[in-house]
């Protein structure tokens, strides 16, 4: 077969070009990168006096599964934790290079845990700044606060799953329960902090069974520091004020006639905040509407076929929700003096002119403003059994 000169040069190019392709500066062998799954940020107790405060970091790296079954029957851990100390985040990461041959890679980072102490002591805008500048770290990484030390969260307890992955899955459980606040992504956190708006974030605690999410932590927007924790009930209240997001959750009411307990399952929450401005007096009216179903009742006969009973159940649930929401407000608005349910934002949308006047020192002013809550519960169904007696 004859090959023309033209074809021959084309063939030559085809052979030469792949050689050029292989010469790549940015080649990363997957075996040689340390895939970071979780990062914990702590504020160590032993700080040098007079010097700049230092932070401690824990990296959780994934270990590729090794074929080492023959050596021992022990369950292999599929992660390794490394800790470091330094004045800034980048220092910490550089310190890792002295101990691990694998350069850390953050493209699969799942969760950042900040300890309570660090969040109270350091401006959070600075803590997350490195991660926001870095292009490897996605803005959708979850951020969680920890009771106690962040490094403890990454210790494997009884569960065989990698703690960072487990925690990440837990953060998404806000759909199933009202007891944890909505998950906070790195991006959202940064948005709140730049906008100086306060927010509630998920908080984790280590327990013998592994990490557990419990209640929420309140971050004050103006100082970018943590101001306190919320109990589980208070978190439920904040969730009612925030509305939306939750599709599932249980409210235990008490039926007024018999004093019997009721279980109401939430399907949908809509909460609307109405600012009322009269001269210099600003107050708010919160309307919470929810639809759901009656899951359980301890009343006898508890006849759900009877509209009156459903009505009473609705009112009982509404009363309970109102009570919980007011509790949450008492804690956040009156005690911590923060605006976590975005009352200020509502005011700025409805009355921009008024907002301009009051936005300086808003949270201080807000803490004295009256808020009334109205709850409307709509029980749409009651399951496959309506009554305990025919």
């Amino acid at each position: 077969m004859q090959i023309s000169a033209r074809n021959r040069s084309a063939l030559l190019l085809i052979i030469v070009f792949p050689l050029l392709l292989a010469g790549c500066w940015d080649r990363n062998e997957i075996e040689e990168t340390g895939i970071a799954l979780g990062i914990g940020i702590d504020f160590p107790d032993e700080q040098e006096k007079g010097a700049r405060p230092i932070i401690a970091m824990t990296h959780q790296f994934a270990l590729p599964n090794q074929f080492s079954e023959s050596t021992s029957s022990k369950v292999q851990k599929d992660y390794v934790n490394m800790s470091s100390k330094g004045p800034i985040v980048f220092d910490n990461i550089r310190e890792l290079s002295t101990r691990s041959a694998r350069p850390p890679n953050y493209e699969h980072l799942q969760v950042i845990v900040i300890s309570e102490k660090a969040a109270r002591a350091i401006d959070l805008k600075n803590v997350i700044n490195f991660f926001l500048r870095n292009t490897e770290t996605r803005r959708s990484i979850r951020v969680v606060l920890s009771h106690g030390k962040a490094s403890d969260i990454f210790q494997q307890q009884k569960s065989t799953k990698t703690p960072a992955l487990e925690l990440r899955e837990l953060t998404d459980n806000y759909r199933k329960t009202l007891r944890i606040p909505p998950p906070l992504t790195l991006g959202n956190m940064s948005e709140h902090l730049t906008g100086q708006s306060s927010f509630v974030m998920q908080s984790a605690a280590s327990s013998p069974e592994g990490a557990k999410l419990s209640g929420g932590a309140v971050i004050k927007g103006t100082t970018a520091r943590m101001i306190g924790f919320l109990s589980e009930t208070e978190t439920v209240g904040v969730n009612w004020l925030l509305g939306g997001n939750h599709s599932n959750g249980i409210v235990e009411g008490v039926e007024p006639n018999s004093g019997a307990m009721l279980g109401y399952e939430v399907r949908k929450i809509t909460s609307s905040i109405q600012p009322i401005v009269q001269g210099d007096n600003i107050s708010f009216r919160v309307k919470i509407k929810t639809t759901g179903k009656l899951r359980e009742d301890w009343a006898f006969p508890g006849d759900a076929f009877d509209a009156d009973f459903i009505n009473r159940a609705e009112q009982a649930t509404a009363a309970k929700i109102k009570q919980i929401a007011e509790k949450a407000l008492a804690k956040t608005q009156r005690q911590y003096k923060v605006d976590v349910a975005h009352f200020g934002k509502r005011l700025s949308i409805k009355q921009p002119a008024v907002w301009k006047r009051v936005k300086d020192g808003w949270e201080e002013r807000f803490s004295r403003m009256p808020v009334s809550i109205e709850v409307e519960v709509d029980i749409q169904e009651f399951g496959t059994r309506g009554t305990k007696r025919n």
Binding site: D26, S348, P352, W355
Partner: protein
């Protein structure tokens, strides 16, 4: 000269519209939300973009009307007729330089984004040289090939933008765009300056019209091109502010990329959308670069009466030097601002003057003939 050969170099009205749009959709899509948010400071930035789009259409109207007066001839050729040989040549050369500078700026921004998001350790010079190596191949092929390339890529680019906008809606909160006009209309006006600059690019019609097979459709083409860009820009700004908040948009370098990095479909099914986005954005930059490069070389060619291909090669080192000139990112953005101002002067003001002059001249000619 190229223009004499009309049967070879003729493009349709659709192609012209696409070229107009493509010349505009370049760097703006990445940096516009930030510059808008910085100058507007309220969530109303998207209104500024919409208004600027209408202003750009006005300028575009003038540009096309001017070009239609001289069928089959480009701006470089007829500018000499309007204001005389030397001034015309100077203005033509100014426009060539503008294109060369724009190409250099585009090249550097492309390099910076690729370095930041894709190839961290690869020297930026290599990225830019490779890019230019491919671009020269395209540029020397002439306007028909460029038009066909753009016809092929623009739908893909628009598709990826639409996908981007749809995916971003998971994180989009309407409340971030409210209150609308909370502080009146004044902030919106402040946003017009940065946004009108990002509409520069429609002026390719100054030479594209000459190649159109149906020049009477040029108005429709430029309106379609600018309209498409305006809608796309408005949506991108709205999405960026809606999902990041105005305050946050002011703080990020490449807001559109940050929005793309927010995107995550449930269950980790689809992550790292920004990689796909960067790749397609490089294609988008490529088509814009080729257009500018062609515009500059064509101008030099027609001014000197030589083949434009020669100048396409000659201008490459110049473009490269302009690209490596800004020593850091802030200086690069400064350069972009200056190019924007230059475009405003050259394509907002000069065409209006030319149009008036041309009309006056014609009237004089008519008078002479009548006498």
């Amino acid at each position: 000269m190229k223009t004499n050969d009309r049967s070879k170099d003729s493009i349709t009205a659709t192609q012209a519209a696409m070229m107009t749009a493509k010349a505009m959709i370049g760097t703006g899509i990445l940096v516009l939300p930030q510059s808008i948010a910085k100058s507007v400071e309220t969530p109303d930035g998207w209104l500024s973009v919409l208004l600027s789009g209408i202003l750009a259409m006005l300028c575009g109207f003038v540009v096309v009307k001017l070009s239609q007066r001289f069928p089959g001839r480009t701006y470089y050729q007829y500018s000499q007729e309007i204001v005389g040989k030397w001034i015309g040549a100077c203005i033509g050369a100014g426009m060539c330089l503008y294109y060369i500078f724009s190409a250099g700026y585009l090249l550097r921004v492309m390099g910076e984004v690729v370095r930041m998001y894709l190839l961290d350790k690869t020297p930026i010079v290599i990225i830019m040289l490779t890019f230019m190596g491919v671009a020269i191949y395209m540029t020397t092929a002439g306007i028909n090939a460029i038009a066909q390339l753009i016809e092929l890529f623009l739908p893909i680019i628009i598709l990826i933008m639409v996908v981007f906008i749809i995916f971003s809606f998971r994180d989009f909160e309407l409340d971030n765009l409210r209150p609308v006009l909370g502080e009146g209309f004044a902030p919106v006006l402040k946003g017009i300056k940065p946004s009108i600059l990002s509409f520069s690019g429609f002026e390719v019609m100054l030479f594209v019209t000459a190649f159109m097979s149906e020049p009477h459709k040029a108005i429709r083409a430029i309106f379609a091109g600018i309209g498409l860009t305006a809608v796309l820009y408005t949506l991108v700004v709205a999405v960026a502010i809606g999902s990041l908040t105005v305050e946050e948009v002011q703080t990020v370098t490449w807001p559109t990329m940050s929005v793309a990095m927010n995107i995550e479909l449930p269950g980790g099914f689809f992550e790292r959308f920004e990689s796909l986005f960067t790749v397609l954005w490089v294609i988008s930059m490529f088509t814009a670069f080729v257009l500018y490069h062609y515009g500059g070389s064509l101008g030099f060619g027609q001014l000197t009466g030589k083949k434009f291909q020669l100048f396409a090669y000659l201008s490459l080192p110049l473009i490269f030097m302009i690209a490596i000139w800004p020593s850091n990112l802030n200086k690069l953005f400064k350069l972009g601002d200056y190019i924007g101002y230059a475009s405003f002067f050259m394509f907002g003001i000069i065409p209006v003057m030319f149009l008036i002059l041309a009309a006056v001249r014609r009237a004089q000619h008519a008078n002479k003939r009548a006498q």
